[in-house]
């Protein structure tokens, strides 16, 4: 009883009758597919006893193995984008990087690079670290991870604004990603509407940029108009709008 009270008091205050009306916000990835994939892998491995991972190396190995079998959404990449990437055609004008096919995916490689602490033996995937960002960028692009490639390009350009390769790759990524989002939101002449009542808006989980895009949705402004009004880079506005649609906060008439 006491615990229950504590739980409720930790939430933001709101009228009791709103509790049941609160919208269920879909997580930004396919939960069922993810759960099925993970449980199938676990069964295949036949876990006889429960293992407690206690050090970084073991933890990393586990991450790498997991990444080999499933493709969970990256923490800082929206699932919608991951899905978009999976379907994206490879851009023809960037040469495919040599694929030193370590058993890991890029996500695992990056995780490995981050997790390795000084003085500790790194995981086997250490040859694919972020030390060579240009190669990393090209690799990600060739694998269709345009968001990742764009992030890398932006990192490179932050260090070296004159890097033409990064600039070109970044531009290509933007073009491809914009195309993907446009394909998902098309026709852009439609006017989105907000599904969540204003009183429940503040219980949603979103950042102020999404809040801004949401404020531009009035039921009459089309997607094209919203993109024009946002003042944001087109890709950012498209991504946010797409996420709002995915999360069922916004829909089309």
């Amino acid at each position: 009883m006491t615990d229950h009270k504590k739980k409720r008091s930790s939430r933001p205050p709101k009228p009791a009758d709103e509790e049941n009306d609160r919208p269920t916000v879909s997580p930004p990835f396919d939960v069922e597919a993810f759960a099925r994939a993970t449980s199938a892998d676990t069964r295949a491995e036949g876990r006889g006893e429960q293992v407690t991972l206690t050090n970084e190396l073991e933890l990393e190995r586990a991450r790498s193995q997991s990444a080999m079998r499933t493709d969970p959404p990256r923490k800082n990449t929206p699932s919608a984008l991951s899905i978009a990437n999976a379907h994206a055609p490879s851009a023809p004008n960037i040469p495919a990087a040599k694929r030193a096919l370590s058993p890991t995916s890029i996500e695992a490689a990056v995780l490995g690079a981050i997790a390795t602490s000084p003085g500790q033996a790194g995981p086997e995937i250490s040859e694919r670290t972020i030390d060579d960002p240009v190669a990393e960028m090209t690799e990600r692009f060739s694998l269709g991870d345009y968001t990742g490639a764009l992030e890398m390009a932006e990192l490179i350009l932050a260090e070296d604004p004159g890097n033409l390769e990064a600039a070109e790759c970044g531009e290509n990524c933007r073009t491809v990603l914009e195309g993907m989002y446009v394909a998902r939101l098309t026709p852009l002449g439609r006017a989105p509407i907000v599904l969540v009542p204003p009183t429940q808006m503040r219980w949603l989980s979103m950042d102020h940029r999404a809040g801004f895009i949401l404020s531009l949705i009035d039921g009459t402004s089309t997607v094209e108009t919203i993109l024009d009004m946002s003042g944001m880079p087109k890709l950012d506005a498209l991504r946010i709008l797409h996420e709002l649609v995915q999360q069922k906060i916004v829909a089309f008439k």
């Binding site: 098309t186 026709p187 002449g189 204003p198 808006m201 503040r202 949603l204 979103m206 950042d207 102020h208 940029r209 999404a210 809040g211 801004f212 949401l214 404020s215 531009l216 009459t220 402004s221 108009t225 024009d228 009004m229 946002s230 003042g231 944001m232 880079p233 087109k234």
Partner: protein, 608 residues
């Protein structure tokens, strides 16, 4: 008969009206609004935005959004108003090649007339969409204090927009026309015009036979509803800072939302006593979460916040009455114009000052455009009872010794006209005189607008005051001012012709007209492609939705399978045409899609 549109080209909002079957009507825009923000923006992608869209991105794209271009139109680069605008505007204002003013948007320079033309072009389109036919003639309103150059620049803007501006009329006169429409009014009235960006007070005499005379006019070109919005924003920003320690002004997106919300709250408080401002996720707290702004504002708070602004307008009214040498009881009616006059406190203050209830007979947002529409209709009809006479908006004269202004043609003189006056030399043995032609009402020459100057030489040497020079001012029907100076003894003479100038050459105007035409052709073409694309996509979507059902129903027969294949082929071709944005192909595919859609619907309907 061809329609003439009346356009109120406002500092913050514009409005277009026509007279239909004898009834003056304001034309709503595509969004259903009767006024359109006088804002123009160029997006990062180079797309031109005009009106509400431009307004809603005005803060997030501040450097490339022009507002209040009217404050700059027809002004010289070194005028105080331009200096003020340069200091306070978010967009870049630079000096033009003819000492005029240019605006830089995305590295491209535009003249002020060109920017105003974009707004006028939008108003023209609104009228054309409504009427379903092209419009080419317009009456445009300007503030009563606009000089000839400002009026000419407005006319040029109309020409660039593809309009033949058949008359420029004063805004208070237009409001008075709307007020007097269908009535036989002979009154002295005050027009209190508190709009989004400017405040004007004008005293007019409405006489019989359509004479509308502006007796006095004054105002503040940097005082309007936007200043009230700014006060609300300050109040919200301060409150939020006290609560969260974050300055919302640092974030453009937050500021844009505050601006929209402040204006909305201000409007709502004209009809309700309190309103809630709710802006969820307004800014990031910096700890991976967003903060919300939620406050209730009362009408009393708004009145406190804007009290001094209101007081400023009343002070200007007081001074104007004094200048016009009129008593309050000589004002027989007070018209309220401009959105701000919806505010109950303003209505009360104006009523108290003029000691009479303001008239409810005119619409604050629409009366000026309606008046322009009425004038446009009268100008092309056989009835001339409402036709305004073309008058000089300001007095014309020359500069005399000591820097004084000597008036030859008074303000509001009907044109064409001419006046003559004799002047004498001011120094002994003076052999030349400089004639400095000016426009304005101030006794001090420096406070008036310089129109031109010339020198009359070869005067005989004589004591001061003994050589007589006859100066003649003439204004022809086209508004061109000629000034002649003649030595009465020798009959030697010199003259100058002054034509109002917007600061643009004919060639420049011609180029701008061509650019505007090209833009319209492109826009119409894009709109046509977009309309076809939307129709095609809608039909494709509908057919795709019905496809599984139809397939299930007809797939058993050869004929059905054949029909399904044909439908698939039509869908494929339509998708390709949409992807290519090929207008001709899309139009052609729409026919096939429509047939398929009808057939599919028929099949599904029969089985249910």
């Amino acid at each position: 008969m061809e329609k003439v549109i009346g356009i109120d080209l406002g500092t913050t909002n514009s409005c277009v009206a026509i007279v239909e079957n004898g009834v003056p009507t304001v034309v709503p825009n595509r969004g259903g609004y009767k006024t359109t923000p006088s804002m123009v923006a160029i997006t990062e992608a180079g797309k031109r935005l005009v009106g509400h869209i431009a307004k809603r991105q005005a803060i997030t794209n501040a450097e490339n959004t022009v507002y209040a271009a009217k404050r700059l139109i027809g002004r010289k680069w070194n005028s105080p108003q331009v200096k003020n605008a340069v200091a306070t505007s978010s967009y870049r204002i630079v000096q033009g090649p003819h000492n005029d003013v240019r605006i830089v948007l995305r590295d491209k320079e535009y003249s002020v007339s060109e920017v105003s033309a974009m707004v006028l072009q939008e108003m023209k389109l609104i009228a054309e969409d409504y009427l379903g036919e092209p419009v080419s003639k317009a009456v445009i309103t300007v503030p009563a204090y606009f000089n000839d150059n400002q009026r000419q620049a407005t006319k040029d803007a109309g020409e660039i927009a593809g309009l033949d501006v058949i008359r420029i009329i004063n805004e208070p006169t237009a409001a008075a026309l709307s007020y007097g429409f269908g009535k036989n009014v002979e009154k002295t009235i005050a027009v209190y015009d508190f709009g989004g960006g400017t405040f004007d007070i004008s005293i007019l005499e409405i006489g019989s036979s359509g004479i509308f005379k502006v007796i006095a006019t004054a105002g503040d070109t940097f005082l309007g509803g936007e200043d009230v919005d700014a006060r609300i924003i300050d109040w919200l920003v301060q409150g939020f800072k006290e609560e969260h320690g974050i300055d919302l002004r640092q974030d453009r997106m937050a500021l844009q939302r505050l601006k929209d919300a402040a204006e909305k709250a201000k409007c709502e408080l004209s009809s309700v006593r309190e309103t809630e401002i709710n802006l969820p996720f307004i800014i990031s707290s910096g700890r991976n979460e967003a903060l919300h702004l939620q406050r209730t504002i009362e009408r009393n708070t708004l009145e406190e916040l804007s009290g001094d602004l209101l007081e400023r307008t009343i002070d200007i009214c007081r001074q104007t009455l004094k200048d016009a040498r009129l008593e309050k009881d000589e004002i027989e009616d007070v018209l309220l114009v401009g959105g701000m006059t919806r505010m109950p406190k303003i209505q009360q203050a104006v009523g108290e000052f003029f000691e009479r209830e303001p008239s409810k007979g005119v619409h604050p947002d629409e009366s000026v455009a309606l008046g322009a529409g009425i004038q446009g209709s009268a100008l092309i009809s056989d009835k001339h009872d409402m036709v305004l006479l073309d008058v000089t908006p300001h007095a014309l004269g020359i500069m005399t010794q000591g820097g004084f202004f000597e008036e030859l043609i008074p303000q509001n003189t009907t044109v064409p006209t001419h006046r003559t006056k004799i002047f004498t030399t001011s120094r002994d043995n003076q052999t030349a005189v400089k004639i400095v032609v000016m426009q304005g009402e101030s006794e001090r020459a420096e406070e008036n607008e310089l129109l031109g100057e010339f020198i009359l030489t070869g005067l005989r040497r004589a004591a001061k005051g003994s050589v007589e020079i006859e100066v003649t001012f003439e204004i022809n029907a086209d508004g061109i001012v000629s000034v002649h100076a003649k030595d009465l003894e020798t009959s030697k003479e010199q003259s100058i012709e002054v034509t109002a100038s917007s600061g643009l050459t004919r060639d420049e105007i011609k180029d701008m007209i061509d650019n505007a035409k090209d833009y319209m052709v492109e826009r119409r073409s894009t709109e046509e492609v977009e309309a076809a694309r939307q129709e095609a996509e809608k039909l494709v979507g509908e057919i795709e939705r019905l496809f599984p059902q139809v397939e299930q129903i007809v797939a058993a027969s050869d004929f059905g399978r054949d029909a399904i294949e044909k439908a698939r082929a039509i869908l494929d071709k339509a998708r390709q045409a949409i992807a290519r944005r090929d207008l001709a192909a899309m139009k052609s595919e729409i026919e096939g899609l429509s047939r398929t859609h009808r057939m599919f619907k028929g099949v599904v309907a029969k089985t249910h």
